[in-house]
Amino acid sequence: MNENLKIGVFLCKCGGALAKRIDFQKLLTQVNTFPGVSYSQVDSALCLAEGRVSIGRAIKEQGLNRVVIAGCSPSFHEETFMEALRDFGFDPQLMAMAALRERCFGEEATQRAAREVLAAVRKAALLVPLPEKAVSVEPAVAIIGGGLTGIEAALTAAQLGLRVTLIEKEKELGRRGSELYPEVLTKKLQELVQQPRITVSTGTELLAIKGQAGHFAISVKKGGQTSIVNAGAIIIASGVEPQTPPYFSPPQVIGLWQLPRILATSSEKFRRVGFLVDLAQESRLASHMAVEGALACKKNWASEAYILCRNVKVDGREWEGLYRQARDQGVIFFKFRDNPSVKLCGVQVEIVVNDIYLGGQPVSLACDLLVVEQELAVGPSIREIAREAGLTISPEGWLQDANVHLYPVLSNRPGIFYAGLCRWEQELEESLADARQAAESAASLLSGGKTWVLSGKVAIEAEKCALCLTCIRSCPHRAISIDPIRRAPYVDDLSCQGCGICAAECPGKALQLNGFTDAQMAVQLQLGEGWK
């Protein structure tokens, strides 16, 4: 053990609540006998300003080099104390916490408290400093996909001071946007040309994503020439490809995504228009598009409109009102449990549907135009590139966001963000919100050209490494590569998320996750003394 170890133990009564359960005088006496403890104190509430100041004072006056905070669980106030220690210029990685509030009850509370503090003291003794270091990053972002989402992401990122390369495989930006939302697209394109930080690269095919957060190298191909785009972050806004709809047989049976063009260009007026959605599964976007489409048909062609669905989903801004409007204008909704039958009869389409509210009596409808839902799928090439870059693909084939509620635009790899339809079915406004959030996330990582990260989260003993590459294969964040000079793994500080999978998998024990090394884990497991 380090001879110069000076551990300070700070016991907290949690505003007095713990004083009823734990005998703090007795605990303090015990704590002072623990190895390495050079200072201890009891406070009524360490998390408050006064308590935090007292920690800082003690660190300075007593020359402490490790801190143990015993009070509430780290799930509750760890961040608070880390922040406070950082403010005192003390490495927050040299702190261990003991959860007294969540562990110590009943007659043996004091004894249990002593045991919890002992485990924390032992762990603290094994902690090593992990300095935060500034890593230089390229203040540039590459956006894959020049649809409305990509354009919005580009505009936001440029406003936030990043250089932007907008990569689009087609000759023009916003092909689908020009059909679905022509006014929005025109406006965004006007903004785009005024933004000097944005480079637009159309007719450009994405080949591969290499590198790490802060320094990605994206290889692209334009007009037969391959080149590399360097960027600190990547936003994938590649959208989806609507698949050929079931029963597809133009001009009578078309897909939901084709309707806007038909509406704009068709000289024929369709008198009776049917919408068939939710065939494979219920879809909120299809619901929304069908309702919007039905209203448009009424407006353009004065059609009679039927919507056949399993459920009308209205979980979006102003969608409920849209549905109400459709009902008021006479759009007729059928709800089915079994998929309706569809038959082409000359120029008409005959649909037989069993509505769940009509008591099993099938209804037969003859339509001039049937609009059928289209399955959405991320394009095979982008999916393959994503897979090769170590990004996760959901079982349904979308690019999997890190957490649908908490981190919707984050991928499993730091520095790579998702926006819009490539991650989940959503309508324009939601995709644009995604785009802005992704751009802001990229900017918070890259602005100023450097970012602060903990260095050395994973400790590596090169002499134990047999170069078996298990760590590289097991890292879920693609943070590990091989350092050819040391002949050992190299862990990228920015990409590493500190999960410890590499450390657990390494057969040679060449890797250790600081904070959770074998030794630090082992001291948490000892149940012998102090338990009874």
Binding site: E102, G106, T392, N412, C499, A503, A522, L525
Partner: protein, 138 residues
């Protein structure tokens, strides 16, 4: 006594809440924080038995919800492997279990731990001892 390895993203928060809300008495549980269940090695599991646990739990995120993608899947494989090792040396494999918890699954966290405590009470103290754990997976 049981030792529960708890993922700090999910199960650790759930067990904390279970204690605070009075659903769980923690006096016979040693809750060990891990950053991801993927950090828990076979050796850690065996060490927990060696160091006095009568039962060991690995509390991970539900499958498909691991922030580190494969952490919980790896943990499950290791738990299954360690169960076989335990059986070989005469320790009931029921003493080692894995459960999936999300951070808001507070009552479930209490139930999972109570279940293990019941199992351990029914089986009695762990008589077999893992003493060579250091040699495993070295």
């Amino acid at each position: 006594m049981i030792t529960a390895f708890a993922c700090f993203r999910s199960a650790y928060l759930a067990t904390d809440q279970a204690v605070i809300t009075g659903l769980l008495d923690p006096s016979e549980v040693n809750i060990v924080r891990v950053p991801c269940s993927g950090r828990v090695e076979v050796r850690d599991l065996l060490r927990a038995f060696r160091d006095g646990a009568d039962g060991v739990l690995v509390l991970a995120c539900p499958e498909g919800s691991c922030q580190d993608l494969t952490g919980n899947v790896r943990a499950r494989q290791r738990v299954e492997y360690a169960q076989r090792l335990l059986e070989e040396i005469g320790i009931e494999k029921e003493r080692l279990e894995m459960a999936a918890l999300a951070s808001m699954m507070v009552p479930q966290a209490a139930d999972v731990i109570k279940e293990m405590l019941d199992t351990v009470r029914a089986l009695g103290p762990c008589r077999g001892r893992v003493s060579q754990a250091e040699g495993v997976a070295k």
